[in-house]
Symmetry: C2
Subunit: 485 residues, 2 copies
């Protein structure tokens, strides 16, 4: 019989004392795998305890894996597995590449990775607001006030459609851009990227055809790869995609979606005119092709009057307008939206529910308070003035310094990006990008924005993070290098 | 010749005056589609202007879609599309149900919708922390301090792996549960649901087999439908899934994943013992089946000692441990994680990058500050004490009131849910749920947690949002109804 040292006067309940002492005996190896424990009855009798007390201790031992017990037989000590001390090194035993699906593999290969450069580089790659103009202090007050006023409500799960007052604000904001949608036609997303994925998820099956601009937004390419899409590329001219090519393609293809950026196209900076937008919509209506209109920098028109979004003319409800706060406010909160129709909005909500229950509510509530106080409009004006100057300096510097007639560049009316391209060159794109890098300049290689391989030699600069003097200095270096090509 | 009223002394630039006046003439119908505009040269001569000024105005008119212009010919007024005044009503023209893919349709049908009840219902459905115990004031201070200290950095795009100090905290927290992972084996997600979706996305192809517990977490069912998974169900006994059935299934099937909740299983509340966990892992290692271990309420053990997670013994790195802050802190920030291996963590980061660029950074930074100050541990203790009492009251009320021997119920050692089941009954599940509702009680029908149809009549109650007196009153009503079955 095992002798336990039980103290009925101790604060520790007797069953725990039994548990601890038996555990110790097992861990010390006094009791070995296969050894029998006394029956609950005999241990109870021996120590003058209620049998239930012993039973409770044995139950815990069993739950913790120290003993095996079969009805009507003695409990025996079992061999217990130890904790894995180092997991990382051993995970190499498994051939994960054989386990993950081919789509994920494609995704990894197609994701564009921006290399971080040392500090003294003039980095023309970031396409998000300059940290120096992010209104973090104003937003801090809004989030602080929101939590003060209704903290525990806000920190609960949110509505899968998005926070209703924010959807109301967004639908009003859309009205300013000529888009007549109600809040029930707005879904709040975790940024524009998430919005695009939601639309793809709704319409795409493996092998579905999707029309994209060529070049296009580089980060849509991995998504198209992941969703196993058959991509149809529409070449960009200086006025937008070639609509004749679109029409002729539609005679033989049945694409599920067309993805376009009519304003300050990424990467080229091109803005299509009203007639192009009308014609594009007319074609898509005729063939009933849903359109993703990416308005990621809609508000950032610097020169000339605003041209209304395609969605503003969309009487049939075919256009899915994607908006975001990431490019004019701050990306860290991950808030964007889709303005579409009620039917599809309901479906997007189901997607969000299944994927993440809801988009994070706290940031939506704070953002709505921020917008409601007129701070969004104020911030738009502030950065509009700032970036208008930056774009002006950029275009002026190029105009005054670029002498090589074999180089073309776009003259954006807004947004953050300028596109350089050359057909005749004795240098490869990667060599050109490398040469720029050696001279302290980082740009996005144009090929990253093409789905297929391209013969064109091109690159994109973004002025989003660069001050006027950096833009001037950087573009002087760039044009010098281009002039020598 | 059109006569314009141009005022050179006005603050409005001349080109804008031309633009506005011509626009007005077109919109009033004075100038009609097909009408020719004067050439830029003649209009300039007539008004003694620089020709470029007129040219600039015409260019704007063209961009805005008012005129068509061909090189070497006069510009003519064009028919301009109007803004769509009402989009919503017209979107019904399109047969969206024919356009969206079948997976999305399945998703919509399988998402479980909880009906909102009137205020005086005792609602046993919510499975998130009671709003009254959410530490919103402490979190407010953290988010406020974070924004004060480094606002614009935090509001930028985040790291797709998650905020590094938070990953560090999570890996330390995992150590407390016997899981030896480094921060490089942790990815931060938008909650546990997102974590599960990321794992599915990495391994599943349409038609892949996945093993689930039956019953299981109701919200994984729409995901399995969406990803077109071939589901293999493992029946739950009172000690967890039947491991013999698992073994025999694996002789003829090659599932890509097994999804399990070893602690306080949702919906049943069952906790598996150490031996069951070892055996489960041993089988999955033998057949090399990756395991999703959902530890959604890992910390909430009220009675007895903690049993270590399956992941703690996982030497081969097959286990994907899913954790979340939603069930013990607050769900509104949408932060969860996966503890796995380096190889797959890198792949999850690529998925996040493609889907949403990064999980929202602001909430991660604030959460890390919250955790670092020891507030997470403090909150765990606080709600642990609270819910221990609630669960005690619940089980005591059932024990003292339930007399119908045909009803079984689980006695959870932790978590929030209790499961009632009966095989012999003269009432259908929906009638039973309806009867409870008529008596002011809302529960989750058990069938919502089954992938396939089931003969069993069951329901789940969650004590998460209910105070002790509500639990007592609610369960008195429930047991009265059950006793009469």
């Amino acid at each position: 019989m095992i002798l336990l040292n039980l103290n009925k006067k101790s604060k520790t309940p007797i069953f725990k004392q039994i548990l601890f002492q038996l555990t110790e005996l097992i861990e010390k190896g006094v009791l070995k795998p296969g050894d029998k424990l006394p029956s609950t009855r005999s241990l109870a009798n021996h120590h003058q305890l209620n049998r239930n007390t012993v039973y409770k201790a044995y139950e815990e031992l069993w739950a913790l894996g120290y003993i095996e017990s079969k009805t009507g037989s003695y409990s025996t000590i079992r061999e217990r597995k130890n904790i894995a001390e180092k997991l990382a090194s051993n995970s190499e035993n498994i051939d994960w590449s054989a386990k993950i699906n081919s789509k994920s593999q494609k995704l990894i290969e197609s994701n564009y990775k921006i290399e971080k450069q040392e500090k003294d580089y003039i980095d023309f790659t970031p396409l998000s607001p300059d940290p120096d103009v992010i209104p973090s202090e104003e937003f801090r007050k809004c989030i602080n006030d929101s939590l003060k006023n209704s903290g525990s409500d806000i920190l609960a799960y949110g509505n899968p459609y998005g926070y209703e007052p924010l959807r109301e604000f967004i639908s009003n904001h859309m009205q300013l851009h000529g888009i007549n949608v109600t809040k029930d036609e707005i879904i709040v997303t975790s940024g524009a990227q998430h919005a695009i994925e939601l639309i793809l998820k709704l319409f795409i099956e493996p092998g579905s055809e999707v029309l994209i601009e060529s070049p296009t937004y580089s980060a849509i390419i991995p998504l198209l790869e992941y969703y196993d899409v058959n991509v149809l590329e529409l070449p960009m001219s200086e006025h937008g995609i070639d609509l004749q090519i679109l029409e002729s393609l539609l005679k033989t293809h049945k694409p599920k979606l067309l993805y376009t950026m009519p304003n300050f196209h990424n990467p080229t900076g091109i803005t299509t005119n009203q007639a192009h937008r009308e014609k594009l919509l007319e074609i898509c209506e005729r063939y009933e092709i849903p359109v993703i209109e990416d308005g990621f920098v809609e508000e950032m028109k610097y020169f000339g009057k605003n041209i209304l979004p395609v969605k503003s003319m969309d009487k049939s409800g075919l256009v899915f307008y994607v908006g975001t706060f990431s490019k004019v406010l701050f990306p860290g909160i991950r808030i964007g939206w889709i303005a579409s129709n009620k039917y599809c909005t309901d479906r997007f909500a189901e997607q969000i529910k299944a994927s993440a229950i809801s988009v994070n509510q706290l940031n939506q509530v704070a953002l709505e308070l921020y917008c409601k106080q007129g701070l969004f409009e104020k911030q738009l004006k502030r950065i509009h003035t700032l970036y208008r100057k930056r774009m002006y300096v950029a275009l002026k510097t190029i105009r005054e310094n670029l002498t090589n007639k074999n180089i073309t560049y776009t003259k954006p009316a807004g947004g953050y990006t300028i596109w350089f391209e050359t057909m005749k060159s004795n240098i490869s794109e990667s060599d050109l990008v490398e040469k720029l890098k050696m001279n302290g300049i980082q740009v996005m290689p144009g090929s990253k924005a093409y789905y297929s391989q391209t013969d064109k030699i091109s690159f994109r600069i973004s002025i989003a993070h660069r001050k006027e003097d950096e833009i001037e200095k950087g573009l002087e270096i760039i044009t010098q290098i281009l002039n020598k090509l």
